[in-house]
């Protein structure tokens, strides 16, 4: 049987999806010719925004490359416009000749609406629809160049954010009184405007363009109130309209779009079908990808002679601008018989509004916290009766029925028909089925079901379904997120804090999309450390994000009491200090006095309320905190060196004290212990320290990344130097490099194992780099090298160590 001749006009996302369905069902049934005005095949148009902003490359968003079309035997006539359709002869004429069809699919998509003002044809005026537009914008991005984006809808704002990220000065002109008025209400629009302005985008509302100015090239925009805004680039993003000219010329019935029935057949000709943004169905036209994919599925069935019906469904909107968290679904216009439930948290910039009609939720708008968006969208789509949970509805699923569920439990509880991937209409059942059929990682599930393959926001959910379905067999991706509050790894977190110049905890939560309001006991200490290490002058250390020992500056013991340990520089003390320690131990009834492995004396079993007083006493005797409780510099263990030892080659005690005086008070990813031995006999056990110096006749051998805890490991040689000054310079540089790069709670040996000792040696071999690291360490020490004991002897600070109230003293009533 000869193959059916199928001609498709257009190679957009709907067209690509249609072909996939057809070839999957019956690979040999059709002889396919695809025309496309763009000189390329199908790519993920939704992802043009990340390409514009530089977060993704073009090749990452191609969904069907030339090889794919070739493998399927598709005749590609890309870069060729169709000039006419002859329905009587059943032919399509391209610029380079005609081709006959048995059946024809028109998928011409949409065109940007260009507002009819003078100057709209000037070079430098672009729309934002395809890769060429995107590339034109990228080319226009020169530092300091100015862009005006006309239109504050989804596309316009994504364009504005992308251009801003590329360093342009951006102004958005929007005709209506608030941004994205078709998707969100005025309150959410207000928050969105604020967020955009915070990123340096100038937003002008009720701004009506009168003229685009320029001689031979765009130079500015004039508004109807005669305001003039200079511009090197003007982006028109006021909307799209279905591209119907070709269909109309072929006398197909056209309203706003090409009229089709629920099988995607044109209203006029049973052999002609239409698909995508060019169609009109029951009065609706389409701009989001989810219904287009539905249409592609239905049309594939129709062409294969099977039954299927396209139905309109409720859509939700998300804006793909990093940090602007916005969600809307359903109908949120005010109206008779409709009631609103509104929640606002101005401090966090959160706004949520639910619209209820009768017993049903019909609309939801959320800004700032959109975690529950999918749940609300489900309630709207399913027309669920919400009367029972109405009072707590706005607080989301966690508040319905007591305990908040952990995310995997929530995913496990989902019904098979629950939709996971909104873009591709993939439900949980299909994903579970694919996993059962051997798709055991994210890539395979994506390939098999398309779930998470378009905008990618459901990737986490898909991974959770993998985990739930496969149980222990699922090997989660190697990169472990910091904690349950985020999917970001420590490494990415550090990189993003630097790259995006995030200088506060709220900035991290907001910009990196934390799922919890203010982190948890796992991420907060890490984030607090990263911020203070990277921005010592901008960020203020947050005691409430520290583990109890670091907050109280004493080690909590298992009975809730604390230990107190003064610093003994290099392990050297004096009779006066010893007397002061002994007196303090007596005065505060210290049950245990212990000589530690780090050459100091620990007072164990001190009550919390006594801490400020005992510190005051030790301070008075000239001692400071030994930081025996911190992720920071602990001790520098030394031997007596040339002062006393007949084998000593250098002043190891003096060098140890010098290093300790240099490094004390600094916060590090994990604790740091040093040792300095005066000869290779190594009495200070320097070869298993984080940094260990062995003195020899000719100088000093600096070793790093030793361990003598859970793991035992000898140091690796970093450098050999001749003078004490050089030792200090190298050691500070190493510690600062560790401070700037290591994952929180990685000791140096774990960190160097990850980055490679070679990299550390190469980096530090450069004298200029060492000098920079020393400089940055000095800046940090200017803030953090201070005795926490001395800072806590004021009355106000002391009170913190007492109970807030003691009700046991009250007389019984």
């Amino acid at each position: 049987m000869p193959k059916e001749k199928l001609v498709i006009v257009g190679a957009g996302m709907a067209s690509g999806r249609l072909l996939e369905h057809l070839f999957e069902a019956e690979p040999d049934r059709f002889e396919v010719t695809v025309f496309n005005a763009e000189p390329r095949g199908c790519y993920n148009r939704i992802m043009l925004s990340p390409v514009l902003s530089g977060e993704k490359s073009w090749s990452e968003i191609v969904t069907h490359d030339d090889a794919w079309y070739a493998a399927k035997g598709v005749t590609c006539r890309f870069g060729e416009k169709v000039v006419a359709i002859d329905r009587a002869r059943k032919t399509v004429s391209g610029e380079r000749g005609e081709v006959p069809y048995d059946r024809l699919v028109i998928a011409t998509g949409s065109s940007p609406f260009i507002i009819p003002v003078p100057g709209r044809d000037l070079p430098g005026v672009v729309s934002y629809r395809d890769l060429d537009d995107t590339n034109a914008m990228i080319e226009a991005c020169k530092p300091g160049a100015r862009a005006v984006v006309i239109g504050g809808g989804l596309l316009g704002l994504e364009a504005a954010a992308g251009l801003r990220l590329r360093g342009m000065e951006v102004t958005v002109l929007h005709l209506s009184g608030h941004l994205m008025e078709r998707q969100i209400d005025a309150s959410a629009g207000y928050l969105l405007k604020q967020d955009l302005e915070r990123r340096g985008i100038d937003v002008r509302l009720k701004a009506s363009t009168a003229e685009i100015l320029g001689e031979g090239r765009v130079e500015g925009v004039r508004l109807i109130d005669d305001t003039e805004i200079p511009a090197d680039l003007v982006v028109m993003a006021v909307g799209i309209r279905p591209s119907t000219a070709l269909a109309a010329a072929a006398t197909l019935e056209v309203g706003r779009g090409i009229l089709v029935d629920a099988q995607m057949r044109s209203a006029t000709d049973p052999e002609v079908f239409a698909l995508g943004e060019c169609v009109e169905f029951e009065g609706a036209v389409f701009g989001l990808v989810a219904p287009l994919y539905d249409q592609a599925k239905v049309l594939a069935k129709t062409l294969l002679g099977e039954d299927d019906t396209f139905v309109l469904r409720e859509l939700s909107t998300k804006l793909k601008v990093t940090g602007c968290d916005l969600f809307s679904a359903g109908d949120f216009a005010e109206g008779e018989g409709r009631e609103d439930v509104v929640f606002r948290d101005p401090a966090r910039g959160v706004y949520k509004r639910l619209v209820i009609e009768g017993d049903r939720l019909i609309g939801a708008v959320m800004y700032g916290d959109t975690a529950d968006g999918g749940w609300f969208h489900g309630l709207i789509k399913d027309r669920a009766d919400v009367s029972e949970m109405r009072e707590t509805l706005i607080f989301g699923p966690a508040f319905q029925g007591g305990e908040p569920l952990d995310p995997t439990a929530a995913v496990a509880a989902l019904q098979p028909e629950a939709e996971i991937c909104g873009c591709n209409g993939v439900c949980k059942g299909s994903i579970v089925e694919a996993i059962g059929a051997g798709a055991t990682d994210l890539g395979a599930v994506r390939a098999k079901t398309k779930a998470s393959a378009s905008c990618g926001t459901c990737t986490g959910l898909v991974e959770q379904i993998l985990a739930v379905t496969m149980g222990g067999d699922y090997a989660a991706p190697k990169a472990q997120p910091v904690c349950g509050c985020t999917d970001i790894t420590h490494e990415d977190l550090r990189r993003l804090i630097k790259a995006q110049e995030l200088k506060s905890q709220p900035a991290v939560w907001q910009e990196l999309g934390w799922r919890t309001p203010n982190g948890c006991h796992v991420c907060r200490p890490a984030v607090n450390y990263y911020l203070l290490a990277d921005w010592p002058l901008d960020y203020t250390d947050d005691p409430q994000s520290r583990f109890v020992n670091e907050r109280n500056h004493a080690n909590i013991q298992k009975d809730g009491s604390y230990s107190v340990m003064p610093r003994m520089w290099g392990g050297i003390t004096t009779p006066d200090e010893l007397r002061a320690i002994a007196d303090a131990a007596d005065r505060y009834g210290v049950p245990t006095v212990k000589v530690t492995g780090g050459q100091r004396i620990d007072l164990l079993g001190v009550k919390k309320e006594d801490l400020p007083a005992i510190w005051g006493d030790l301070n008075a005797a000239g001692m400071v905190s030994g930081h025996g409780y911190t992720k920071g510099l602990r001790t520098v263990k030394t031997c007596v060196g040339t002062d006393w030892c007949r084998f000593g080659t250098q002043d190891s005690t003096g060098l140890g004290i010098r290093l300790e005086k240099m490094l004390w008070g600094s916060w590090t990813p994990h604790k740091v212990k040093l040792g300095v031995s005066g000869c290779p006999r190594n009495c200070a056990e320097a070869t298993c320290k984080d940094v260990g110096i062995i003195c020899v006749d000719s100088g000093f051998e600096i070793g790093v990344s030793g361990a003598a805890g859970m793991d035992v490991k000898e140091v690796e040689r970093l450098a050999k130097v001749a003078t004490e000054d050089e030792v200090v310079e190298w050691v500070v540089a190493f510690v600062q490099l560790y401070r700037e790069h290591a994952k929180y709670l990685d000791r140096p040996y774990k960190w160097t194992a990850k980055v490679g000792m070679d990299w550390v040696r190469e980096t530090l071999a450069d004298a200029a780099t060492r000098a920079d690291l020393n400089h940055r360490f000095a800046i940090s020490q200017s803030v953090y090298q201070r005795d926490p004991w001395a800072e806590r002897t004021e009355e106000q600070q002391k009170r913190r160590y007492l109970p807030l109230a003691d009700l046991t003293l009250e007389a019984a009533e």
Binding site: G402, C520, Q544, V548, R799, P803, L804, A805, L807
Partner: protein
């Protein structure tokens, strides 16, 4: 400390650090008074069910606290242990009035008698 209408004034809101806690001693045992990042206050038993760790020394996040000894997490609202473990610590009614923290006397007296 003053008593009024069955509520005991235990101190100023600002005496409790934001996202932090303070200890109140009572005949019903030690009570932890928490202040969340959103300026809400909660009062619970100070004692972790696991090894008796002092919850007022834990990290306060969202409406939860993590015990400093072994990271058991409690809901400040219900007193329930979160996650895989189970159990519940006592919670006490507390409110803020004119910047002062008021703890319900009856709840503590009841716990005392029990």
């Amino acid at each position: 400390m003053t008593r009024d209408m069955g509520w005991i004034d235990i101190g100023a809101l600002d005496d409790v650090p934001l996202r932090g806690a303070r200890l109140v001693k009572s005949r019903a045992g030690c009570i932890a008074v928490f202040r969340t990042g959103e300026n809400e206050v909660f009062a619970t038993s100070n004692t972790c069910l696991h090894r008796g760790g002092p919850l007022s020394e834990g990290i306060v996040h969202d409406r939860k606290v993590t015990c400093p000894l072994h990271n058991h997490v409690y809901s400040l609202e219900t007193g329930e242990v979160q996650g895989a473990d189970s159990g519940r610590i006592a919670t006490y009614p507390i409110r803020i009035e004119n910047g002062r923290l008021l703890l319900e006397a009856a709840a503590i007296a009841k716990a005392d008698a029990a």
